[in-house]
Symmetry: D2
Subunit: 337 residues, 4 copies
């Protein structure tokens, strides 16, 4: 924390600010300047509230100078976290392809899709059984029946399952079936859910919130990791901006930044990130080219009939074409698919 | 729903789109144009998925033309919803002033503040006992002890209590104490929580999400109302934009729009909406001048020592000054305070 | 500027950073901390480029700690700037009402509107003769003919004229007619235009850019003031956010902040700020309630036939109703209208 | 244009809306529905103003259903526009690499950099001589001297030059030296400048504005093309969002959308798009993987000493590494570099 005094602050005001620091058991370091005085602070363990100082007379601002997250940061753990889920692997030079329908709709739909994406090279099966929907009148998922169908698809293909958990009530149920628990964008700061996930021994994929900064996202991951569950995967799925020509704005530019700041594996979801099928394959290629550990792709046997997110689902033929491209880019990145 | 064919779509493609409409049991209405053909659809009860049509050959776009929410809309219920909570009243020409600390911290803090804001003209006491915090290392609230202190303050002052419920687990507990249940911005699309609140017989104040559109906000209210709980209050508390000079961007411009679209009462929270104490009173005046039914104000006996949101809390003296201003503007608006 | 070393930076790296500061003729102030060392810098006159330091080994970040604008700041000039334009006055406790059509369209339209708004209490006439339009196929304004009609309206009513200047080519022409030169949102960072305006002896109203921060806006004003033209008015007219239910998001929450940071007069434009006629009067009231020096209102004899911005124009009757409300709120604010 | 009547609109109101359409010489097509009536319109050539109808009694909304741009659209010209500039080529399966310093600073700097990037595979030299800067106190470029140095570098290397033109005053001068004229983000809607560029016979690269939608960007391009200059290149360089961890948010997700909507060549600038050197190479790879026609890269012999944009400039060694990666991805995309 750095306290910035106003230009024209009196010596008494500066001393009062220093005393406020000492009152907290910390050490102030005044730095007199031509225009104004700044006061550095040492001795604190975590972040300080700026308001401890900003309302003192003569104080212009108080600027935090350290990151508030710890366990998820590379400063604390320099080497990559690698997460293995059956045959799938996140981190450490592999590219994990998660594919499947947005929602589990019918036995035939999920089994057919699972078999197809497995054959095409997917290493994890995605599918939603509990669906958070913007409107109460929309399809909310098959719930436990959907989980059973996913389990049957796993049985048939060997693919581990990733599926969304939307609340703490259904957590135990979903955790019985899922290999990886997905937290959706709207739940990124559902702290009660994050705490429960932190107590489990099961990998969690945490999607970035629609309007969440990288810092908030890492703090949300810290909620899980700080309770003991260190197997957290970050998933960029697009943010909300002024541009409505695409459903979301896929923020690939933070991938290299995340790599520097955290050791957690990074996945990108170009299906939600673009919201239109013709955008998915180009952005899947782009995601792999930034150097991510995985991609998540929505595939549907007949997207026109999908009960959710039809516009962004790939047909089987489109998925095949995507995999050709993804393998080629992954080869450039020296990743195993 | 209006289907827009591409310029150059063939008669066969147009007929195929019409047939897709008929297959759903609906009626297509082709409108030939100079540049392209559009197809209106009638017979549907709710919204249709655009993707049912956008992926057909020759279709350029499918544009929804009706609002997806119903029960919260003025089209369905033209007259204002009025919510009475003990002596406080939301809607119908009153101005409800909710005031109190961000977090309940100590018995003395909450009792002193409650007595002060009551004397100054507040009609409801706010105070957080369960605090959702961005970091797992920050103060999370006094929980049940905080609720008990709020109840004691209600006993002492007669002010009804509004407090946040942050998850379904603590809902029954919070509902035992609270007069109005507040849903925070980060929970606006916590649909499981909304559903539980819809089953209760207790007013709910639903804060707008940081990046939620008016339409999504009304859909979230529809979740509650569609399950039977019609006493929902909307609270604008600032949205997230590119501007970081203020903590949030208080979006007052949607108030007249909300008035036209919904019958629910509208409250504005200028404390979170600005994030700095010097901005609260001007924006409280502005909010009242737009014609809202209530304002929510954070007040603290010693903001420099507040455990949360200190920079935006008003001192007692600042609250007195705010009430002078608010009464004057409310008089112009012909509202009772 | 504060240089933040990485945790684990070596003494040699810290010394190298200090030396880089000395090489610039400045003085480094190392502040050793438990986690990391920070280095304060004194002796510089203006802002430093962070990149002078961020790319040195062992440096984590370099944080600017002073504002880059000077002449427009209250630190440099504490007292309000008051601008008088004929009978109109901006700053110093008056409320200036600028009203008139978006575009000057016909002689009858502008003269009728001018007479009407004058009678209703407006103190300045607005009207566009050179219109920047998103599409090359839209109405671009009557140009010099429009300026002549504005001058005729001034002659008839005594109202000074504010009109937009859209480029340097037409600046001399527009300046011959206008009493106040308006810079539109899209030109806020047209630095060549700002420089020319800085050389004139005529008030300038600088609208905030659609996605401009307060800091960038004040820097743009600094461009004008630093060349000698100190009569600059700031006009908030709404920013671009994710919300499209309103045309723009009127950012009133920055008004108290601007008041603290700058001595320049502040105007709000609720017509562009909301984009819908039913929103204009409530937001005009709100703007006045925040304590601004003026408002700018679009009025048209027949908004359905307006050649630009019809949806947000007030009819004459709506303008009368607005003035009743605005006078009442201004009275609360102790402002002369 | 589709007019949506309110539910409950009377037959007289519907007829009045139809008559308003006929009054414009157009044909109304009423579509009665269960909930409400919609009215399609045919016969118009361009876009209609919604406000022509939205203010009529009983009208809920008026929705535009065709795109306002024409000449830049694929509907009008299906085949790609290919632009050749000396040895460089934009469109048609080539990848153009534009590289060089942000600002031209010294003869040595620009000649050394030009020679280096030429050797590394760049096909065009970038460099700014006229620099629009946020602050009036920052380095504004070497102006004509900078242009002369660029010309000298072209002479020495054979690389064509792309450089920014920041206003109409300097346009003739800049056009004398430049092979491609670059319009910066802040000038994307400087319509006077766009019109002058439309009258020239020289390629123009139009950067997307910080908060400009794809539609506005294409309309800005339409300004140039509609005056006869068909050689326009679009350059995505990042948009402004709530996220400040990166300088801008590079919006690659619109690339496939642009490809479908326009025939103009597309370039991406990952230097401004990320704002930090470590992000440039990954995002350059990603851009190529989306299928663009070119990338623009800032390179500086000593980024720590750069007079502008130092944090995002690549060193020579970093540029070499980037070219290795870019060639590999371009090979996957079957592009010639």
């Amino acid at each position: 924390m750095l306290i910035l005094m106003r230009s024209g602050a009196t010596p008494e005001q500066i001393e009062a600010a220093c005393q406020a620091v000492r009152d907290l058991g910390l050490t102030p370091h005044p730095i007199p300047g031509a225009m104004r005085t700044a006061i550095g602070i040492t001795g604190n363990r975590g972040a300080l509230e700026p308001s401890l100082f900003t309302r003192l007379d003569g104080v212009a601002d108080a600027v935090p100078v350290s990151q508030p997250y710890k366990l998820v940061s590379r400063e604390v753990k320099p080497e990559d976290t690698i997460i293995e889920v059956g045959p799938a692997r996140l981190g450490g030079g592999s590219l994990c392809v998660m594919a499947g329908p947005c929602s589990v709709e019918t036995r035939d739909q999920v089994l057919t899709t699972a078999a197809y994406v497995k054959a095409g090279g997917a290493t994890m099966l995605r599918g939603g059984a509990f669906k958070p929907r913007t409107s109460p009148y929309e399809f909310q998922g098959l719930r436990e029946e959907g989980l059973e169908l996913l389990a049957e698809a796993r049985e048939a293909t060997g693919l581990p399952i990733i599926t969304e958990v939307k609340d703490t009530e259904s957590l135990a149920l979903v955790a019985r079936y899922a290999d990886v628990l997905q937290v959706g964008a709207r739940n990124m700061q559902n702290f009660s859910l994050l705490e429960r996930l932190g107590d489990l021994d099961k990998p969690v994929m945490l999607k970035r919130g629609l309007a969440s900064t990288v810092k908030e996202w890492l703090m949300a991951a810290e909620y899980i990791v700080s309770r003991g569950n260190r197997r957290v995967i970050l998933c960029e799925r697009g943010i909300r901006t002024f541009e409505t020509a695409t459903r979301n704005t896929l923020d690939l530019g933070i991938v290299p930044l995340l790599r520097a700041q955290t050791h957690l594996p990074i996945v990108v979801d170009p299906s939600h990130g673009t919201g239109y099928a013709a955008g998915v394959t180009p952005m899947a290629r782009a995601a792999v080219a930034t150097g991510v550990d995985g991609i998540m792709i929505e595939v549907h046997p007949d997207p026109c009939k999908a009960l959710s997110d039809g516009p962004q689902a790939l047909t089987f033929a489109m998925f095949d074409a995507l995999m050709v491209d993804v393998r080629a880019i992954a080869a450039v990145m020296k990743q195993r698919v």
